[in-house]
């Protein structure tokens, strides 16, 4: 009898978990968003003057194939894009009504086409050329520190330590990279020292938040102030007094990958980059594998979700957090290096300019997932690059609106519009036995 009941008991589903089919309302948020955007695309077309043309430049300076300017008749091109967008929106509505989960390609395709439609409209008859490749290169360049920063935040937060100090880590990385590169007159030495700077800030973060259990957000905020002050102070003293020694410009050389870098449009954007960018690809890829499939990843996630449970199986919770935050700091330090040696610039005061906060936003929008964070950071980088481009060609849309976009999107995200964002359960909670 007992065996029999064991099996019946196991069949029971948790009473709280039974799905009440038909009760759950259909989520109309996404379809409505698509519909609104598609309608906007139609509106774009309607406001394009007849016979207008839009010019795109698809090549950058050093291309293997010189692709001539692409000239599109604005209205027909706009109509084609708008019709596809309307069709996609219709598909999304149909899928929602049948409760079919939409796949990732839909928002991606929709986003790309919508941006194209926007550009066709924005560039119509302005006599300006839209430098597509330059814009994409700029987008990637703006994204690189964000991606490094988001990975840093992710590594820490997955183990339960909130990192508001990404900004400080980027700034410290930028600073030490510039100084080391300048002192050793080698950009690669900057690459060696940048992670150390980030890791040191990470070490301060865990020193106060893990050892002394000071509120992690507070420590993060204060570390930002500290590093801004410290780098600003050193910049105003040593770096300004003797820039040849301390703050001479050094740049990491571009290392085009043979073959891949020849691909039109994508090639020069993605594969004619410095080692720092390739490192970024590597880190995102490795994190994506290791976080979910390795011992380190399993333990990291355990410590971030339920530290006491991890402790009971012999995992040293606080040690794990210390390692992870310091590792994250090193990653962010590399990201900071991009500001200086990655772009061949000397260090400037507060040159990270809030990138750490956008990185934080990207991590949240990416739901603490490496790929999600990567996409979010790219989106943010792109919107900023688009803003810069529009500012130069002059469109009715103020560039500030696009610069604000990442922050606005993030607010929508945390307000639950982009689905439930669920942080690691023990995020921000100090662990004391």
């Amino acid at each position: 009898m007992s065996e029999q009941t064991v099996s019946t008991a196991a069949v029971q589903a948790d009473p709280l978990k039974q799905t009440a089919t038909g009760v759950r309302p259909i989520s109309w948020k996404y379809p409505i968003t698509y519909a609104v955007l598609a309608a906007l695309a139609v509106l774009f077309v309607l406001t394009i003057p007849a016979g207008a043309r839009t010019h795109f430049r698809l090549s950058s300076g050093g291309d293997f194939f010189e692709i001539p300017l692409v000239e599109l008749p604005s209205r027909p091109a706009g109509w084609i894009l708008a019709v596809i967008l309307v069709a996609l929106a219709g598909l999304a509505i149909w899928q929602a009504s049948r409760r079919i989960r939409t796949r990732l390609w839909l928002p991606l395709l929709f986003g790309v086409l919508f941006v194209l439609a926007f550009l066709v409209w924005a560039g119509a008859d302005r006599g300006a050329v839209i430098p597509l490749v330059t814009m994409l290169t700029g987008a990637l360049a703006l994204s690189v520190p964000l991606i490094f920063g988001a990975m840093c935040g992710l590594v820490g937060e997955r183990s339960g330590v909130i990192n508001i100090a990404i900004e400080a880590q980027l700034l410290a990385g930028a600073f030490l990279a510039a100084v080391a590169a300048s002192v050793f007159t080698s950009a690669y030495m900057g690459l060696v020292f940048a992670p150390i700077a980030g890791a040191l800030v990470g070490a301060l973060l865990v020193f106060f938040s893990v050892k002394y259990q000071v509120n992690q957000i507070i420590v993060g905020v204060v570390l930002n102030v500290l590093i801004i002050g410290l780098t600003g102070y050193l910049f105003s003293t040593a770096l300004t007094q003797n820039p040849e020694l301390w703050n001479a410009r050094q740049q990491l050389p571009r290392l085009p990958i043979p073959g891949l870098s020849q691909i039109p449009i994508i090639g020069p954007v993605l594969f004619n980059q410095t080692i720092l960018v390739y490192l970024m690809y590597l880190i995102v890829g490795l994190l994506n594998i290791f976080l979910f499939r390795s011992r380190w990843g399993l333990r990291t996630r355990a410590v971030g979700e339920h530290p006491k449970a991890a402790d009971t199986v012999g995992i040293k919770v606080n040690r794990m957090r210390v390692y992870n935050v310091i590792l994250g700091g090193a990653i962010a330090g590399l990201g900071g290096a991009f500001f200086t040696i990655g772009q061949g610039l000397a260090f400037g005061k507060e040159m990270s300019a809030g990138a750490g906060f956008i990185a934080l936003a990207a991590m949240i929008l990416g739901r603490w997932h490496p790929i999600g964070a990567l996409l979010a950071a790219l989106l943010f980088g792109f919107s900023t690059s688009l803003g810069n481009t529009l500012a130069t060609i002059g469109t009715p849309v103020p560039s500030e609106a696009l610069l604000m976009l990442p922050y606005v999107i993030t607010i929508f995200a945390v307000a639950g519009f982009v689905g439930r964002v669920r942080p690691p359960a023990a995020n921000g909670t100090p662990y004391v036995k």
């Binding site: 002394y212 509120n215 204060v222 662990y431």
Partner: protein
């Protein structure tokens, strides 16, 4: 969440007459020392000392004379020490003369001017700091002081030069506009948190950046800035909208300081003596219990951030109407983040915040003179400020640095567990009142074992609870 093993409810009451064995073993002197380490103001003073030491190291490191004397340190160690002492004395005396009392000034009025400058700098810090402090007391980490100050300044400044009104009315209306601007900005975060549970830390950080771009946009619009030039700078606030000067010409001290005093008293009454403040403190300490007791938590949450934003907005307004008179992109400087420091330093108490605002204002005012006279960049003030807060947030570290015994003679790590249950709320949203007074607030429950008997006060299937519950 269930990670917090603290089950204080189940443990037998500690008997107060029992002294800890460690405490009994201590002599009278060490007990006196221990009590010293416990008083918060001592920690504050020591934290300032640590910060000044860190600052000293930075000043010395950047000073060329010191560097030069260091190069022949082994030949002439006294030369190095003398130079170092000289440099520090100059720097810190400039800091003091700039902040409190300038004995080198030509006239009596000039020599007390630094103190009034400190007050001027402290006005927005106190006002915004009070806003942040209310948030802390209500369990909300409002990082959005910056954005709220900007919005306050943006609206107050605009009303100040765009309208033409009689003297008293104009300034009142501009101030009200500032309060409203900040309140709206704080209210966005508050309403979102109340309605959707959106984490206020993230939302306020994002709103800070949005505010910066908003102001940048407005300063390019002619209807807004009303100058006729292309500079991203607004026209000046009308005299009728300026906060009147308290000490006449030669001094910048304005009526904003009186507003700061009134606001301090008002916030004290609100938090300690009003039913609304009772609600704020209740949701700050334990929102679940507050909800069960019938408190409308979403409404109170939204209201906290509206009031906090309003205070920060008032701070921004006072800054523009009393000191700056015109708007530029960087009008708020780092005031928003400094305000967080002020609230932390003041331990989220109104009077403490007021004094901390004066302290930070003093650092600012003194930093200006220090930069002018000794060439020490004012950025060092940021470092001092950060070090002070870090030290105050970790009293055991301060005690360790100064070899003071633990607050109660026990390993203090145990004492925190009693509070962890409530902190353990949810993920990022578990933003609780900042843990600054761990020694004093959890001291009462300190004798309890962290998990002497983990009986079933938690729901047994707590492993399946959603974060956020």
């Amino acid at each position: 969440m269930s990670a917090s093993g603290s089950q204080q409810g189940m443990t037998p009451a500690p008997k107060p007459e029992h002294q800890s064995p460690w405490a009994e073993a201590e002599g009278r002197l060490s007990r006196a020392l221990r009590e010293l380490g416990q008083t918060s103001w001592v920690v504050t003073v020591l934290a300032v000392v640590v910060a000044l030491v860190v600052g000293a190291v930075l000043i010395l490191a950047a000073n060329r004379d010191v560097q030069a004397s260091l190069s022949y340190f082994f030949a002439q160690p006294t030369a190095f020490l003398e130079t170092a002492f000289q440099v520090l004395r100059e720097a810190y005396s400039a800091l003091f003369r700039g902040a409190v009392f300038d004995w080198q000034a030509p006239s009596a009025a000039r020599s007390i001017r630094p103190l009034t400058e400190t007050m001027v700098y402290s006005v927005p810090l106190i006002l915004a700091g009070l806003g942040i402090a209310i948030g802390f007391r209500s369990g909300m980490l409002n990082i959005g002081g910056q954005g709220q100050i900007i919005l306050g300044a943006t609206s107050a400044g605009f009303l100040g030069y765009a309208l033409s009104l009689p003297v008293g009315l104009h300034v009142l209306l501009a101030l009200a506009g500032g309060i409203l601007g900040g309140a709206i900005w704080g209210g966005i975060a508050g309403v979102l948190k109340a309605r959707t549970g959106a984490n206020e830390v993230i939302v306020t950080i994002m709103l800070n950046n949005i505010a910066i771009y908003l102001l940048a946009y407005l300063l390019q619009q002619q209807w807004y800035k009303q100058t006729g030039s292309n500079q991203p700078l607004s026209s000046s606030v009308d005299e009728s909208a300026q906060l009147f000067s308290l000490l006449g010409s030669g001094f910048r001290l304005h009526a904003g300081f009186l507003i700061a005093i009134l606001a301090t008293l008002g916030v004290w009454w609100l938090l300690e003596r009003s039913t609304l403040g009772f609600e704020f403190r209740a949701i700050g300490e334990n929102p679940e219990a507050a909800r069960t007791a019938g408190i409308n938590v979403p409404k109170a949450t939204a209201l906290v951030l509206v009031i906090a934003g309003g205070l920060a907005g008032l701070g921004g307004a006072a800054h523009v109407l009393g000191t700056e008179y015109r708007l530029a992109g960087g009008v708020a400087g780092t005031l928003g983040f400094d305000a967080i420091t002020v609230a932390l330093l003041g331990r989220s108490k109104p009077l403490g915040t007021f004094l901390a605002g004066l302290l930070l204002g003093g650092l600012r005012a003194g930093g200006v003179l220090m930069q002018a006279q000794t060439g020490t960049p004012i950025d060092i003030v940021l470092v001092l400020q950060a070090v002070i807060v870090l030290m105050i947030a970790a009293p055991p570290l301060v005690r360790a640095i100064f070899f003071l015994p633990h607050a109660d003679g026990r390993p203090r790590i145990r004492r925190r567990s009693a509070r962890r249950k409530t902190e353990a709320a949810a993920g990022t949203s578990s933003s609780r009142q900042p843990e600054l007074q761990t020694a004093s607030t959890s001291g009462a429950s300190s004798a309890e074992p962290p998990s002497a008997e983990s009986s079933s006060s938690e729901s047994p299937n707590s492993t399946t609870q959603e974060p956020g519950k």
